[in-house]
Assembly symmetry: C2
Homo-oligomer: 404 residues x 2
């Protein structure tokens, strides 16, 4: 199941960006599993990738092609092409080459992406056979089909879209993402593809994407398992009539804020679809010495199986939150200054059970589908938020049966 | 359920150490939940405690009493007396004082220990009422009853015992432990109590205990959640006729080796009883630059919910192990030198799927109840082993229903 609103919102077409999907039959045979994305010439492209040392073959290739003014993306679901060594690299390159050949482009301008099971070789022939149909289908109106084609264990398609009024006209920003398990992105999410018709130079676009992912995709976790394939791409087609976006202008600030908001929407959707999730948990750590410390405490709570199972059970067993804060390896933590809240209910005050805390008040919060944990460390002014979900029977079921 | 041999072995009495149990009725009403341990005058005592910043009230008190030549332990199950602030400290002191009063001792010579739910005040009156019966029952032959009295979510009592032949005679070493969840001890286990009749000075005893716990209790994890109450005590009654054990002698080496082995037995028993465990997983990381790096990689694998659920499903989904190694944040890791094995089956060679790996061979290993994962990093000569268990439906069930 999934938590809260999971309807795919209206995804506005982005001028200069076309998408086409088709059935390669890699793992799913009843739906499209191949996506091709085309950007008109003259745009710019930014991307961030997983920090997992075992990064997948397509990630290696996409990294090496990023500086070649990429205009094409080829994305398959059902197979991650990770842990596949030299053959995996050849397979990823062959997918790029096949697409390039079909559209008379340079293969260096194609970025490949794969998501699915790790350690199996990519069925390249199936993908090659499906490329022409995807190209035939290319259209600016295919964002919804694209969001569906990149799903794996996702239970719903994820996307977000906004139109930003700027000096000189409107800019459109539309993105899709996928991911439900093996989610603790580090520099990027499982897979995210965002496009805009803005006119912006590649280096500045990259800077915007890095700021936004750090505040969104890098602040979510389902199970603490950073994937081998995490990637997030932001393409700007320069098709809008709005003048080029340059740093330290009103338009830049509007643009960056919109990207951050869009990335937060896309990453929150991943947590709502966390494998087996029944609850969305926002963990805010405040009064920290610095951001890193706030994130460390928040992630220690977010990764605690005991905390996660208590939320699944709607059990205000707050001692588990306290224990997680205490093991987060914060130097010279003075527990007598710590406060912990479930929504607005204070459970721990000055490091001990709040004297006016009642189980009834705690239970009322725990019965909700969306809950905030607020931890005040009493050490400084930094504040950070991490999103996670609970740990349910279905998480075990989904991951015990993943390959069967 | 639990994995493998879970029968409590014969626990030899230790001269100079007596144990008595009784029913305080804290959480369980059908079995003893209070344990008193007495050591004759003239012995020495060592202890290690949790590094959790929110360490429980009894841990604080035990730490402060440790230098006062402790001769008495008072241990309750069913309530952790953690997150209870000033009142918790008073409650722990009152338990010590009550015991001391009953046996005409100094309360500073009593170490208190508690295990159970966090955040509820200790029912001191119930404990005080049960102390006289425990004292009446004091006997050197009560190790089995003691092992049962300290259980919480444990499904079996845990103990180990050995007689060591030394220069000058035999030494007996007997210990008990408890723990099944909230298990990633840091300097000690959930609760471990070990006694010997050896004659050894307290500082050297402490050194032995620290070496042993670092190689045993600090190398196990069920769920990564370091408890607020972890404590391990080693008492030496000096009742044996073997001369005092001093450093850098044959007897010292024999003694230390025996303590390490006993601590490993006790900590392995905790993993066999890991909440919901169906598999015992030994994760050995070899060819690491140093011990810390080896432990980091091993624990990253051990804490991966995806790895743990794959083991529960007997699924040789080894890509999850590879992904965990890759996210362990090892600086300058060269994946092309990495090998990964399931028992003797090579699954990853030179950083990619081993060419002769077959699913049949992997499946045969995964069908076992006890499995080794061996990771060779190709960076150095350090080697460390961490024990863990799988993540099953029952883990979620046990922890979602813990307080009901």
């Amino acid at each position: 199941m999934a938590v809260g609103n999971i309807l795919l919102p209206k995804l506005y077409p982005v001028a200069g960006i076309s998408l086409g999907t088709s059935k390669a039959g890699i793992k799913q045979h009843d739906r499209d599993d191949l996506l091709v994305l085309q950007m008109l010439a003259g745009g710019s492209c930014a991307a961030v990738f997983t920090q997992n040392a075992f990064c997948a073959a397509p990630v290696e290739i996409a990294k090496s092609h990023l500086s070649q003014q990429p205009r094409w993306l080829i994305i398959n679901s059902g197979n991650a092409n990770a842990g596949t060594g030299k053959q995996g690299l050849d397979d990823a390159i062959n997918c790029c080459a096949s697409l390039a050949q079909n559209v008379a482009a340079n293969e260096m301008q194609v970025l490949p992406f794969s998501t699915g099971v790790i350690g199996e070789y990519l069925p390249v022939a199936k993908i090659q056979a499906a490329i022409p149909v995807a190209i035939e289908n290319l259209s600016e109106n295919n964002w919804s089909a694209a969001a569906h084609a990149i799903m794996t264990t996702d239970t719903f398609a994820k996307g977000a879209s906004k139109i930003i009024a700027m000096n000189g006209g409107n800019i459109t920003l539309t993105g899709i993402s996928k991911g439900a398990g093996m989610i603790q992105p580090n520099m990027a999410t499982m897979l995210g593809f965002i496009a805009t018709d803005a006119n912006i130079e590649a280096d500045l676009l990259q800077e915007c994407l890095q700021i936004a992912t750090d505040l969104s995709f890098n602040r979510i976790t389902v199970d603490g398992d950073t994937s081998t394939n995490d990637s997030c791409v932001l393409m700007a087609s320069a098709s809008s009539k709005v003048p080029e976006i340059v740093k330290n202008t009103d338009n830049y600030n509007l643009f960056l804020a919109a990207i951050i908001e869009l990335c937060k929407d896309l990453s929150e959707a991943i947590i709502r679809d966390g494998e087996g999730a029944t609850k969305l948990i926002r963990i805010q750590v405040a009064e920290a010495l610095n951001d890193a410390e706030a994130v460390l405490v928040a992630k220690t709570i977010a990764h605690s199986p005991l905390v996660k199972t208590a939320f699944f059970a709607c059990d205000p067993n707050w001692g588990r939150i306290l224990a997680a804060v205490g093991r987060a390896e914060i130097t010279a933590l003075d527990i007598t200054k710590i406060g912990i809240y479930l929504d607005n209910v204070c459970i721990v005050n000055n490091g001990e059970r709040a004297h006016d805390y009642t189980e009834v008040a705690g239970q009322a919060v725990m019965d909700q589908a969306e809950i905030s944990i607020v931890v005040k460390l009493g050490r400084g002014e930094a504040i950070q938020e991490v999103l996670t979900c609970d740990l349910s029977y279905d998480y075990v079921k989904i991951n015990a049966e993943y390959r069967t």
